[in-house]
């Protein structure tokens, strides 16, 4: 789950495919039913803010 979240936060293409529901079965591999259900209910606003914050930080704008 941590690996999935880490990629979700930093990989824009992965995140867009996740939000569009087009990830492949291989990309979902290793997640439990509980984790899959949790990801189905993910806070999409928070996810976008988190990824925007990480992108700003990488661009040199401290924000933590």
């Amino acid at each position: 789950m941590e690996a999935f979240l880490a990629r979700l936060y930093i990989d824009q293409g992965f995140r867009e495919r996740f939000l569009a529901g087009t990830l492949t079965a291989t990309e979902w591999r290793g997640l439990s039913d509980h984790e899959l259900a949790a990801l189905d209910q993910i806070d999409r606003v928070g996810l976008q803010m988190m990824s925007d914050s990480l992108r700003a930080k990488k661009a040199g704008h401290p924000d933590h």
Binding site: E2, A3, L5, A6, G46, L47, M50, L54, P62
Partner: protein, 293 residues
């Protein structure tokens, strides 16, 4: 008045201060000259340890000099101890060499993960709060303690997203890790405030569910509103954070090191010193309430 623990041969050169409660700042390069000028107002300093891991001899000598001027905390951001993934021993050994050389009074890290599955997040992220991540964090804290030779303080983090897959609330998760691992608790009050606002709980009520009996240090900082509270360290601590500080002092049995973190948009050093003078007043009021409820 007590001697500084763990300072070894450097103890004689560390200024002895009132150990009841202490107040200070996070050292940043842009603040260094002004910090030196205002050192008489500062009890304790904190350094971001990751900035010094690859430092050359001259920079390390500079850090060592600061560590001998005031009691020091070395504060890490890159280990990712709150994870089901075992922490990299090479990172710990590198940190251990720096801690051994600098002899800080404390070292600290965050209750966060920062990488997994080959993906470097580049920031602090909240893992799913579950028994598995409690166990992973405790195992990593034990690994770190073994290699570094002393137990860290562990800090609660701010998050913009409620970590999916959680089965424990934030306070229960933090408490389980702190009490099970034996780590000291570094409570960041702006992180607590931000999460409380962002996820709809009462920060002051949350204090009663946190392991304040293990609290050793406090962070104060500020942030901005982006639709949620972003903990950016670029703004002054809000009034709510000072209110929480008084409440923490009222509840905590032990002495606290209260440290203001500022990462940019720096005001004059006198303004920062005034902020920890305000913090002193809040702690004093909280201590009075503790003695005379």
């Amino acid at each position: 008045m007590v001697a500084v623990e763990g300072a070894g041969a450097a103890a004689a050169e560390v200024a002895v201060v009132d150990r009841a409660d202490r107040f200070g700042l996070g050292w940043r390069p842009a603040l260094a000259v002004d910090l030196y000028r205002c050192l008489d107002r500062i009890d304790v300093l904190e350094f971001i340890v990751d900035d010094w891991l690859d430092a050359g001899a001259q920079e390390r000598a500079s850090l060592r000099s600061w560590c001998r001027k005031r009691p020091t905390h070395l504060h890490g951001v890159g280990l990712g101890l709150a994870s089901t993934v075992p922490v990299d021993p090479a990172r710990l050994e590198k940190l251990a060499r720096l801690v051994a050389a600098m002899e800080p009074e404390q070292w600290s890290e965050h209750l966060s993960f920062v990488r997994a599955g080959g993906h470097e997040i580049g920031h602090l992220a909240a893992p799913p709060r579950s028994p598995a991540s409690v166990a992973g964090a405790c195992a990593n804290i034990e690994r770190a303690t073994t290699i570094i030779g002393r137990t860290p303080l562990m800090e609660n983090i701010a998050t913009l997203i409620d970590p999916p897959g959680s089965t424990l609330d934030e306070c229960a998760w933090i408490t389980a890790i702190i009490r099970s691992s034996g780590a000291g608790f570094l409570i960041d009050l702006h992180n607590l405030h931000a999460n409380a606002v962002n996820f709809g709980y009462d920060a002051r009520a949350a204090l009663d569910a946190l392991p304040l009996e293990h609290a050793v240090a406090v962070h104060l900082s500020g942030g901005r509103w982006i639709g949620r509270v972003l903990d950016d360290h670029l703004h002054d601590p809000p009034d709510a954070v000072y209110d929480l500080l008084g409440a923490v002092a009222e509840r905590c049995p032990g002495p606290l090191d209260v440290i203001i973190e500022r990462d940019g948009n720096y005001p004059a050093i006198e303004v920062l010193c005034d902020q920890f003078d305000r913090a002193r007043a809040c702690v004093a009021a909280g201590r009075q309430r503790r003695e005379k409820p």
